[in-house]
Symmetry: C2
Subunit: 121 residues, 2 copies
Amino acid sequence: MPDTAPEPLRMTAEHRELLDQLLDKWSLQVLDTLCERPRRFNELRQAIPAVTQKSLTTALRRLERNGMVTRVVLSTRPVAVEYRISPLGSTLQDLIDRLYHWTTTTLPEVEAAREAYDRSE
Amino acid sequence: MPDTAPEPLRMTAEHRELLDQLLDKWSLQVLDTLCERPRRFNELRQAIPAVTQKSLTTALRRLERNGMVTRVVLSTRPVAVEYRISPLGSTLQDLIDRLYHWTTTTLPEVEAAREAYDRSE
DNA sequence: CGGTATCCATTAAGATACTG
DNA sequence: CAGTATCTTAATGGATACCG
């Protein structure tokens, strides 16, 4: 095996598009919230501050379509709808945790950089 | 030290806002490209397919403001401008690599999920 | 070369009202 | 309860022209 660089790892448009659909403002929070435990629609609304009904619906539909989230209709009276992270979606959990952890450790430096930038320009 | 769960890890609006500013479509690609090596403005345009001048400028300014990227004016004739990943920005490199790697392994399953969703609804 | 400025089209978000 | 439908407004993106 003469070559240790195994793949070009070309980032195609499809790969980026997928990240775009999962890493936006609301989807990230939905995924993070559902990783904890399943939630009903209105529970998600409460758990995610400032999300509107419309934005939440849009994010959920897209996450469902991409196989990240499962929509379960419970046959209670009246019917309830529960959203769960899918097995595929849970493979993202570790990465989301790392992203959030990165922001907590980095934010102070970022804020210093912002202040320096705003002062100079 | 009786408690092994050290922090609530509350995700505040500031943390999410930071991720929003770094994980968007163009910024992610700019960071990824600059992690490889420094680039000039027009080199970035070529390296990132379909990016417009305006979108690239916007992304660069924001990354610069957040301390992720450094803008270096080289005193050549005529002057050249080089963008480099900053030390702070390079702490994101590993996470970006993981994200991209995740998409390459996951995309087939995602596409299957999309087809199933589009067929059923 | 590395941008800014401007205008326009498209998209996303917000508010509100209504429904099975 | 869990949405959909509609309307309005705000943000984003692309095209083009120009500048130091």
